[in-house]
Symmetry: C2
Subunit: 573 residues, 2 copies
């Protein structure tokens, strides 16, 4: 359950649920007009995610952001014709005031950090849509955009600001709250928009923000338009952008039907995925079921299968499972992945994705979307602050896309040979093997822009070439170890003890130190804006969140709005 | 004064002094034999930097590391012939046990963070010597190398491990202390040595470490040698490495004479640099004096000037000033840089450095060293957790190397025109101008590998070309603003108010939030191992240092050695 309370003991635990749909939205309106979609923020003040605060001035909380994430996802799958998405406010004289401050003040450390991570991921997914999906986000700032409000704009590809003498963009977190803009704002200013660091410094220390021509000169926005022509300028830009999209001009979307999820005590069941919690050991066992039948033979068949097409169904379930475990099961510090199924069937699904996903043909939009969704979901896994362990056993199907679960893991154990004695659920499976497909060599990069194999063998291209040469082969434990795909290969005599000891040992460590270590080891090599947001920026924000100057009982987050002034400890660290 | 006490109130304040020399070393021995130097660690248990702990097993504290830094510096300047440096232990059966744990346990947060930063910088300077200075570091691990001990080895270019059945390399910080290896170890494992992240995970969670052939297979060390041939293997490798050095085979070093520094209340005076502290405002005003006479006309003259040659004298004084302010003046949150002198004289010194520093000729070793030292010192400035403000006024000499102080600043103010009314120290200087030299376009990169100008204009090469075209010209405030070299150019009427308000405003903000913001904005663009260590790794470590699981009264750092076991808060954040 999410700890949303303060450090001082005022706690509320609720189950965070990420399922929603446009009909249920409280805070966003999604309108489609031909090739252009419009996402209008109209936050209902009296509908906070948990009690304790009002969502004034289009400020947001997790509930608002869950709807935004849902809308971004549905636009991709349900509205294939849309080529441009306008993000704007439905309220007069305010765009968005950012994350709700009272909400932050009453939230515990873990909730704040996970809230920021999820909002970051949603903004990254908007950028992913602009870059790869033919759905380009445009921001129409029609009133003051403060903090997370301006950061939402920064996640868009083009920013229009109304020139009405009063509408500003601002990042007032530092002067007002003693924290950082926590949703990628600092990184996007300098790395995405090329704002000079001294200008960014001024902006981030000026609570009233910047408006008009200076906002354009300093590259904070792309375009300025007076009130009288603002709507037209937005429409023109959206139409022009949509025109350039490679999305199909006529196509039927597929519906993202409600996800079936049953929570029953220590078990969570989806159709193709099951979670078993060992709360005493702090482990979530995640079993992924491979496909049980061959994929459709063509695009028509994939469209007909819709969200029951196995790779899409898996992406949705894994996505929800990760978010569920992150927010609701914070003490399950280790996630253990297993798979069950047929390597050849998984390979067949990979093949049909690879055949269509990278072809310059609008009719392939759905396959491309599914592949991008798998990429984003695996990225979400990499940046989860949980130890990842993968167990490769007889009957498993760690092939291609699913093999990424092994490559993502901090440790991977593969049984060498088979179980000697019968097991409860032993169905006499053949020895465990893994198989590489084209999905392991490009389509599923991590947040730092390289594949998990490239990250695994930094500066050793020959190791990767040796692995590539084995694509399609069933690799037993010895072969997988030889190629460097797995960490250890105990035989049946040692398997149970070795795995159990590893999990017990993991459970004995400090979760904080594990988080910092894993975040440092998983992302060797190059950096991208995304990896900088999750690595550098979030690490600093987490530190600041932890400091008395921000989160202490007399810290700025607690005192905001009370009129009292924080007395900062002035020591620089 | 450094707060070295615990959070629970047991405090000791001492003045940290970085001046030392080989004759004063307590813990290291520096031996030179022809082209090979040997740095032997022989820590005196009973000589800790502050009372309260014993330096057992060649463990180190700030005092040990100050000596190491001094030795690395002197090797560069005083021993020009040295081409290889062997780092080893003078003790039997132990190499180095890393940072002393009791010292960490009794240190306050600020001290721990600054201790780690300084040790990181020293290790980076060893790598800088290997890469650029023709002095390649080789590590001879002749006994167990634990934690910071192994991290010291990781900073070397080649690691030999004795194969005696018991000597291991280990990073036991996480299992034993609930913190990270804080001196770049995690980053160097994956980014420098290409150790697989699952192998690194195993190493970092295994307190007993790894020895023998597995250490080589996993790329943790480069070479293994049995006890009987170990010394010979080290000598051979050192000789072979020294052979490849481009250092002169015969040359006279220059002596780094004791730095003259006078601390007098709120003032610190060096020969070419002066610090005035405004403790109420939390500001350190740093005045850099330009050269007063023309540089020597050739290399002989530079050698004769020795450490009085202005660029070297400046680097030494600025280096010491930064370290002094970091460790001893933690509440001076803003550093305000001013210069006084003659632009043309500064340019003349830059010219002579540029003329000789990048020439493939051993006789230029000293000029290259001075240029590298200026680079490292400016890097130290960039990663300092202080707000940097530069004031450009009539009589200043922000030219070339000194202009980097303006480009490094979070804000830079330049007086447009001159003072209208007479000032106390008004000597009727001409209007302030700045001047670019070749030093601004390559020799002085930041930790992320790009110049401050490149970082300032990310993705805008034309802006940089426009600036390059003005090299050598005296640029007044309007011109400097137009080129984007300065932030604001108030005239005399506004100057005093605008600067004062900016400094007062800065002083009113949370120092923690400023540190996180500045670290995020200063380093846009690419990343290097160095920038990852200061950005990502240090930020995570700082967060972990702040968490009760590590630093609480019942945290692992406090309980280590007591026999009591930490009860961790198991929530993953």
């Amino acid at each position: 359950m999410a700890d949303t309370g303060t450090a001082s003991g005022h706690q509320t635990s609720i189950l965070v649920n990420f399922a929603t749909s446009p009909a249920e939205y409280k805070h966003w309106r999604l309108d489609i007009d031909g090739r252009v979609a419009r996402l209008s923020l109209d936050v209902q003040e009296d509908q906070p995610f948990v009690p304790g605060y009002e969502l004034k001035l289009n400020s947001y909380d997790l509930g608002v952001d869950i709807e935004l994430y849902d809308a971004v996802q549905r636009l991709r799958f349900e509205h294939p014709k849309v080529g441009a998405v306008v993000v704007t406010s439905a309220k007069e004289r305010v765009f968005c005031a950012g994350a709700n401050i009272k909400m932050l003040g009453q939230s515990g450390h873990g909730f704040k950090v996970n809230f920021c991570k999820f909002t970051n991921e949603t903004r990254n997914s908007m950028e992913d849509a602009s870059a790869h999906s033919g759905q380009t986000y445009i921001c129409a700032i029609n009133g003051p955009a403060a903090g997370g409000g301006y950061e939402l704009a920064l996640a868009c590809d083009h920013i229009l600001l109304i020139d009405d003498g009063s509408s500003t963009v601002s990042l007032p977190e530092l002067p007002l709250l003693a924290v950082l803009p926590g949703t990628g704002g600092l990184t996007r200013l300098v790395d995405k928009r090329g704002v000079r660091h001294d200008h960014a410094d001024f902006l981030c220390t000026t609570s009233e923000g910047i408006r008009g021509s200076r906002a354009v000169e300093w590259r904070l926005v792309d375009q300025l338009s007076p009130h009288s022509t603002f709507d037209q300028a937005v429409s023109d830009k959206a139409a022009e952008t949509a025109e350039k999209s490679d999305r199909p001009s006529s196509a039927q979307g597929i519906e993202l039907t409600p996800l079936e999820r049953r929570i029953d005590g220590d078990q969570v069941r989806y159709q193709n995925l099951k979670i078993d919690l060992d709360r005493e050991l702090g482990v979530a066992y995640i079993l992924v079921e491979g496909p049980t039948e061959a994929p459709p033979s063509d695009l028509t068949g994939i469209h007909a299968a819709g969200d029951k097409f196995w790779p899409l169904a898996l992406a949705r379930q894994l996505d929800d499972a990760i978010l569920h475990l992150r927010l609701n099961e914070s003490e399950a510090g280790t996630w253990v992945f297993r798979t069950r199924g047929d390597n050849s069937l998984v390979a067949a699904y990979d093949d049909i994705l690879l055949e269509h996903a990278f072809i310059d043909d609008p009719s392939c939009w759905l396959v491309r979307e599914i592949t991008l969704y798998l990429k984003r979901t695996l990225k979400r896994l990499d940046v989860s602050s949980r130890s990842l362990v993968t167990l490769i056993e007889p009957g498993s199907c760690f092939t291609g896309t699913l093999l990424e679960l092994a490559l993502a893991a901090d440790r991977c154990y593969m049984l060498d040979g088979n179980y000697e004695d019968g097991r409860e659920d032993d169905q006499s499976f053949p020895d465990a093997t893994v198989r590489l497909t084209g999905m392991n060599f490009g389509p599923l990069p991590m947040v730092n822009g390289i594949t998990r194999l490239e990250g695994r063998f930094l500066g050793q291209p020959s190791a990767i070439e040796a692995i590539r040469a084995k694509t399609g082969a069933d690799l037993d434990a010895q072969a997988a170890l030889g190629l460097g795909l797995v960490t250890f290969i105990p035989d049946d005599i040692d398997w149970e003890d070795e795995v159990r000891l590893a999990l017990e040992e993991r459970a004995s460590f400090s979760p904080d130190a594990l988080t910092g270590m894993e975040a440092s080891l998983r992302f060797g090599g190059p950096e991208t804006m995304e990896s900088k947001i999750f690595g550098r920026l979030s690490a600093w924000q987490n530190w600041i969140f932890q400091r008395p100057n921000a989160s202490g009982e007399q810290g700025a987050l607690q005192l905001y709005g009370t009129g009292a002034k924080t007395q900062f400890d002035k020591g620089r660290v």
